[in-house]
Amino acid sequence: MVPPKKQLLLAEDDELLASLLNFRLKKAGYEVLLASDGQEVKELLKKQIPDIIVSDIMMPYFSGIELIDFVRNDLKSQVPVIIISSAGNEQNVLSAFELGANDFISKPVSPSELLVRVGRELNKN
């Protein structure tokens, strides 16, 4: 019996990067839910909680930090969250970790590295 695919929510406002990562993650065997802004992420999360969330820190309407706060404090969920942040944005990364982010990866993103980090977070649970 084939094990069910892990569901991954990818929140990224850059369409090209989102498309590229989506392609790579799907190729790696994940079921990817794609969201291009914070509002969309919130609606998706109200419907269902994925196995892992990969979110850009800077998004329209609803930033990555607010997303973590929402997940941890409003939804009371301990789903792993990986933050994508541009280099030199250490303060935001620290805030994200304080609010409960599990890991972060800096831009420019290496798709291979992202896969490793996603796999590691999922294996922790």
């Binding site: 850059d14 369409e15 090209l16 990067l17 498309s19 590229l20 392609f23 790579r24 190729k27 831009k107 420019p108 993103v109 290496s110 798709p111 291979s112 590295e113």
Partner: protein, 693 residues
């Protein structure tokens, strides 16, 4: 009816053509409509283009993803799909629009992804021959197109483009020039050499920073010897080369750096100075001193800073000269800080300091005679507290003196710094001595007799508890061991002192001379005072404890022995005068020593003083050895004069502190004691004032 008066200028006005207004209105309306149409058309075209681009991107982006993450190990269907897609994309790229969009996609992704995916992306860019479009852009006549082409080629790391971009390094259009410089340096390692060799135009600070950033992030980059460009005729190249020399810490450019200190350009001088400071080029010190006068204030400050950092004691005369001669206060201030850096605390802050409250006794402000008079008057007047001594040396004097003593930074030129420090140390010691005297006088207010005369019974005195504690026959073995150890320390100190030469003694601070040098267990048989304090029945075996505060055991009883150590000849002669006023048998001993050791006028004066003092002591015999007299005296005139003291005497075993000049000599009558008190207080002040003077 009366006709209305019409002004002449209305009658003479030219006729108004109403039709003309209509034509103008129509004309402007048409122009407005035309403009609106053009704007509308532009927006429509732009949005259509955006939509078209978005649609093309939607089609092309997944294809790019497929190309980037294609692996040969996939299934057969995947491989077939990949080949078909490759054929399809080549067909699509025949359309120029698709080529532009694809180049945009790859440019966008290039900055968002890293690692293996980025390398594949760059390879895809050249595989699809998109770089030819960029090359075509380089031949455009429009600067923005050329710039765009250079940017694209440098971002997509097209190595072949290096030779095509290189000529633009000295383009007269600054945007193209700057883009080409960045591309040249980033595309190949030798790009920086070419750029520094050929740069004709100015290189902005921002551009230098960007270039440095590119070089710094280059992998496996071996920096060339940047000193080779310190001879460039382009001052910006020299400046940039200096910064690179400093960044890569290339210390082989010292000679060139020394030459550049004489450059006409101040920025180059500053940068050269920074390098010299960082590389600690000690040979530069002479050049720095030589070029110093010909420079502006900012350069002078940097030179002084460098001298302070690199210099040694040899540079102090130069710095002192600068402090003395320089008019610019910032430069002078830098010279002082450099001087302090070479020799710390050479110049201490003196401006804008508040006078501490306890500096009321700034004795320098008054002549010794004035203070003497004041002290004597205050003491003679009954019921007046000794505080008035402090108050009488008033703020008026201090203020006047503060004005007179306004810090003068030129001081180091007039007075040697070491001598000034000695004076300061002596001043502090003197003040402490005075404070102690006054403090003791205050504490002994209770000891003052009804006439307000300062009793000398406040002088060190051991209570019964302490003495009995010291004499405790049940003293443990450890305690005896500790005491014996203390004696050993004393001996060591004494032996060290014996080895000390007269010059070394001069260097001993006064404080240390006044400190106890050890605690010794002294045989009672050797000391009369101990005999007095000896408890009956305890026997001579039990030693009395003597804390010796004297610097030399031979003259530990005379206070003058300490003062003589630090005096010049005049002061010694003056001290001899005072010895007559306050001296007793201890001073006789000390005078004997002086007569034996000294020569010349000091010896003659010592002989005369000894004779007079001996006569004086004969006419006023001191009954120091009568314990009963002590007891009576204390009971009568001091707050310590209670039964405890008598018990202490009868119990024996004194802890004797023998740094007193014997002013508390028991048995003196009241008049003699009054006189003695006045004289002692006045004389000590007098002595100290004269010493200070």
């Amino acid at each position: 009816m009366q006709a209305a008066i019409v002004p002449r200028y209305i009658l003479n006005a030219s006729p108004f053509y109403l039709e003309m207004t209509g034509y103008l209105t129509v004309g402007f309306a048409l122009i407005a409509i035309l403009l609106l149409f053009i704007v509308f058309q532009n927006r429509r075209s732009h949005s259509r283009k955006t939509k078209d681009t978005a649609a093309r991107k939607k089609t092309l982006a997944p294809m790019v993803s497929t190309f980037l993450f294609y692996e040969n190990e996939g299934s057969k269907e995947d491989n077939v799909e990949y080949v078909e897609m490759k054929i399809g994309i080549r067909e699509m790229l025949k359309d120029k629009g698709n080529r532009v969009v694809l180049a945009e996609i790859l440019m966008d992704l290039q900055k968002d992804i890293s690692g293996d995916a980025q390398e594949r992306l760059l390879a895809l860019y050249t595989d699809l021959e998109l770089h030819f479009d960029a090359f075509n852009k380089l031949s455009s006549w429009r600067w923005e197109i050329i710039s765009q082409g250079i940017l694209e080629l440098s971002r997509m790391k097209v190595d072949k483009a290096y030779t095509f971009i290189r000529p633009f390094v000295n383009d007269r259009r600054s945007v193209i020039r700057k883009q080409a410089q960045i591309a040249t340096v980033s595309l190949r390692k030798e790009g920086i050499n070419y750029f520094l060799d050929t740069a004709k135009y100015a290189i902005s600070e921002w551009q230098q920073l960007k270039l440095l950033d590119i070089i710094r992030e280059k992998e496996d980059f071996t920096p060339p010897k940047f000193r080779l460009w310190l001879t460039s005729r382009n001052t910006d190249v020299v400046l940039f080369a200096l910064r690179l020399v400093r960044f890569y810490k290339q210390t082989d450019a010292n000679n060139a750096l020394l030459r550049l200190l004489r450059h006409k350009n101040d920025q180059i001088k500053l940068e050269a100075l920074e390098c010299i400071k960082e590389f600690c080029v000690l040979e530069s010190l002479e050049v720095l001193k030589e070029i110093y006068p010909d420079n502006k204030a900012e350069i002078k400050r940097t030179i002084l800073d460098t001298i302070g950092f690199l210099g040694s004691e040899d540079e102090i005369p130069f710095l002192e000269k600068v402090i003395f001669e320089e008019k610019d206060f910032m430069v002078r201030s830098k010279a002082i800080s450099s001087l302090n850096e070479i020799r710390p605390d050479s110049v201490l802050p003196e401006d804008h300091l508040k006078k501490p409250a306890n500096e009321d006794l700034t004795v320098e402000t008054e002549t010794p005679e004035e203070i003497d008079d004041q002290v004597l008057v205050e003491i003679e007047e009954p019921g007046i507290e000794l505080d008035t001594v402090e108050d009488s040396i008033t703020e008026d004097h201090l203020e006047e003196e503060a004005v007179a003593e306004e810090p003068v930074l030129e001081m180091p030129v007039e007075i040697p710094i070491e001598a000034e420090e000695d004076l300061e140390i002596f001043d502090i010691c003197l003040r402490e001595s005075l404070d102690e005297l006054i403090l003791e006088a205050r504490e002994s207010e209770g000891l003052m007799n009804p006439r307000g005369i300062l009793s000398l019974d406040f002088l060190p005195f051991i209570s019964e508890e302490e003495s009995s504690e010291q004499q405790n026959p049940d003293l443990s073995a450890d305690e005896f061991e500790a005491i014996m150890h203390m004696e050993t320390v004393y001996e060591i100190l004494e032996s060290q002192q014996a080895d000390t030469s007269a010059e070394e003694l001069e260097d001993i601070p006064l404080d240390t001379l006044l400190e106890p040098h050890g605690i010794a267990l002294e045989d009672n048989r050797d000391h009369e005072a101990a005999d007095v304090a000896e408890a009956p029945g305890k026997g001579v075996e039990e030693p009395g404890m003597v804390i010796d505060f004297s610097p030399e055991p031979a003259f530990h009883q005379s206070i003058f022995s300490e003062l003589f150590l630090r005096c010049d000849m005049d002061s010694k002669l003056m001290l001899l005068d005072e010895m007559l006023a306050v001296g007793d048998e201890k001073e006789l001993e000390y005078l004997d020593f002086l007569i034996a050791e000294e020569k010349g006028p000091l010896r003659e004066k010592a002989i005369a003083v000894r004779k007079k003092l001996a006569d004086l002591l004969e006419s006023f015999p001191i009954l120091a050895q009568d314990p009963e007299a002590i007891g009576e005296n204390e009971v009568d005139e001091s707050s310590f004069g209670d039964e405890k003291y008598e018990d202490a005497i009868s119990a024996g075993g004194f802890l004797e502190l023998n740094f007193e000049p014997g002013a508390s000599a028991p048995g003196c009558n009241e008049n003699a004691k009054e006189e003695s008190a006045d004289t002692v207080a006045g004389s000590i002040f007098n002595c100290l004032m004269k010493m200070m003077k």
